[in-house]
């Protein structure tokens, strides 16, 4: 796996936050526009014109309005969720329309239309609800255009009727604009998500290109070594009868070439690996648990900024030791910041007959840590083995600054 550069990662994170914020902004404005429509109609028709005359009507109006708004919020969450899924995973067509929020919102919209005495309001709210259902491509905007025409016709019919309710401009404006606003908002939301997914594809493409480059380098490396090995073996074959000792030397050389090729391949692949220190510790804990040990893991929250190139090898060496020698029952791993040093502690109970603590592997590490101004201390007790590594925290920040 490639380890992404820190700068693009940060940009990616802030872009992802931006996309989420845009989503919230659009959803909130949609809900507020709906609320505005319902409140304005309520105020003008029920309060200003009828002056609170019918408490039943008022209760029905408020109740139905609450249902419509709640269902709209539910449908928006569902719309957002289904946007992530591919077509096969989305609900079936029947389920999209015959689901509780859609049916409840349509019925409540009808109630609002009846209570307010205006088919225009009812139709506008039903239309706005249907906009929130995920339609096939190109269906929604055609539907909205037809709906807008129908709403205007409905308004004209209402004006010609005996009791025109929607005679104030503000009422007509809100009713006619509502479905269109909802549809346009969802459309812009979809566009934002499309752009976001294009951005992610681009990031993946960069990773793939990096891998292709790696494959090329690998090809060159292996090709070179294979050629050398072939020559050495050919030489050995020619000499095997005349000079068996020299032939044996060539075979030994060929084996060395094989090792070189293998190390080179590993080093190349290793450039693309590497995880943050807390992940490495968590992996170590997982492995030790899988090996049957009881593991306590105690990692500071900001441990990702500890110097991984110094502490990583210690974790690897100690974990391998515990796994290799086995027999123990518990292990404790900890990484904390004490003042201006990072302290990594690893403790376990070596099983009987274990040779742990002979510490050949730790010596090399101790040298590197010492050069960086840190210290490695290991202590073998009767029933426990402790390794404590301290590294100055500045090492980390210097590396980050220059790297």
């Amino acid at each position: 796996m490639t380890t992404p550069d820190p700068t693009p990662t940060r940009t990616a994170a802030s872009l992802a936050r931006g996309v989420t914020a845009t989503g919230w902004y659009i959803a909130t404005s949609m809900v507020f526009f709906l609320l505005g429509t319902v409140v304005v109609w309520g105020l003008v028709v029920l309060v200003a014109r009828e002056g609170w005359r019918s408490p039943v009507a008022l209760v029905a109006y408020v109740g139905a309005a609450v249902i419509v708004v709640t269902c709209t919020i539910l449908l928006l969450t569902r719309y957002r969720r289904d946007g992530d899924l591919d077509d096969g995973d989305r609900p079936s067509w029947r389920r999209r329309f015959l689901s509780l929020p859609v049916v409840a919102a349509v019925l409540a919209s009808a109630v609002l239309g009846v209570v307010a005495g205006s088919p225009l309001l009812g139709a506008a709210l039903v239309g706005a609800t249907l906009c929130l259902v995920r339609w096939g491509p190109g269906i929604r905007w055609r539907g909205v255009v037809l709906l807008e025409v129908a709403l205007v016709v409905l308004w004209l019919l209402e004006q010609a009727g005996p009791m025109p309710r929607s005679d104030a401009f503000v009422l007509v404006f809100f009713s006619v604009a509502l479905p269109m606003t909802q549809a346009l908002s969802l459309w812009s939301w979809d566009v934002v998500l499309e752009l976001d997914s294009a951005r992610r594809t681009e990031a993946r493409l960069a990773a793939v290109q990096e891998r292709l480059r790696l494959a090329g380098e690998l090809h060159d490396l292996q090709g070179h070594h294979l050629q050398v090995i072939a020559l050495q073996l050919e030489l050995a074959e020619r000499m095997i009868h005349r000079d068996p000792d020299a032939a044996a030397r060539q075979i030994a050389l060929a084996r060395t070439s094989v090792d070189e090729a293998r190390d080179g391949t590993r080093a190349l692949a290793g450039r693309f690996r590497g995880v943050p220190l807390p992940d490495e510790l968590a992996n170590a804990a997982d492995l030790l648990r899988a090996a049957g040990l009881t593991v306590t893991l105690d990692v500071a929250a900001d441990a990702a900024s500890a110097p991984a190139d110094l502490l990583g090898p210690v974790i690897r060496e100690c974990t391998t030791n515990v796994l290799k020698h086995g027999g123990g029952t518990w292990a404790r791993l900890g990484l904390e910041r004490v003042g201006d040093v990072w302290r990594l502690t690893m403790a376990n109970d070596p099983g009987a007959g274990s040779t742990i603590g002979s510490g050949a592997g730790l010596e090399g590490i101790a040298h590197r840590v010492g050069v960086a101004g840190g210290d490695v201390a290991s202590r073998r007790g009767d029933d426990r083995f402790d390794v404590v590594v301290t590294v100055p925290a500045e090492v980390a920040s210097v590396r980050e600054g220059t790297g």
């Binding site: 992530d84 591919d86 090996a291 391998t320």
Partner: protein, 200 residues
């Protein structure tokens, strides 16, 4: 004498390794098998001291074969691999595998590991351990992994919901969150990614 069973589907490697190990004075190769099922049945029949199992074999893999052998007889198992995929070491350790060696080790080293393991010790190669420690961590929750696992063979949302006793809506919520975290477009891609990285 340590009695050894070797299982590897690559004939050349298996034959060469068997010949080289037979040169060691204290090792006796009692069986050579070309796949996991044969290895299990031969192991139960011959009761070797140590089974040397290739990880990548057709049918059941080395770790699975080791688990089945360990259930029935007290043979020690060593898994050999060319390239340890993430999560394999964890799975092998849980299955009770006693040794894990890369194929790149010379036969002399493999013989030494066989002796270690036969003496009751465990051997995990440092290279493999280092690889396992630098595995990418899964950003997914256990429930999300359950959803991916239940849908790994192309099951529908309704199938997954039924097998996990969840509602379809909840399963869709999980899938949406999985795709968001991994930045992928489909559930199938997510399942492939999770399998490649050893999360499921």
């Amino acid at each position: 004498m340590i009695r050894v069973l070797i299982a590897d589907d690559e004939d050349m490697i298996r034959t060469a390794l068997a010949t080289l190990l037979a040169l060691e004075e204290d090792l006796e190769v009692v069986a050579e098998c070309a796949d996991g099922e044969t290895a299990v049945s031969r192991a139960l029949e011959l009761r070797p001291d140590v089974c040397l199992l290739d990880l990548e074999m057709p049918g059941i893999d080395g770790v699975e074969a080791a688990a089945r052998i360990r259930q029935r007889i007290p043979a020690r198992c060593v898994v050999v691999t060319r390239h340890a995929r993430p999560g394999v070491l964890r799975r092998a350790l849980s299955a009770g595998v006693d040794g894990f060696v890369p194929k790149s080790r010379p036969a002399g080293d493999v013989a030494a590991v066989i002796r270690e393991v036969a003496a009751g010790r465990r051997y995990v190669d440092p290279e493999i351990a280092a690889d396992a420690l630098s595995d990418e961590r899964s950003p997914l929750t256990d429930r999300e992994l359950d959803v991916l696992r239940a849908g790994a063979r192309g099951e529908t949302i309704a199938d997954i919901a039924a097998s996990l006793h969840l509602s379809s809506g909840t399963v869709r919520n999980h899938v949406s969150s999985i795709l968001g975290k991994l930045g992928l477009a489909t559930r199938q891609q997510a399942a492939i990614t999770a399998r490649e990285r050893g999360w499921i």
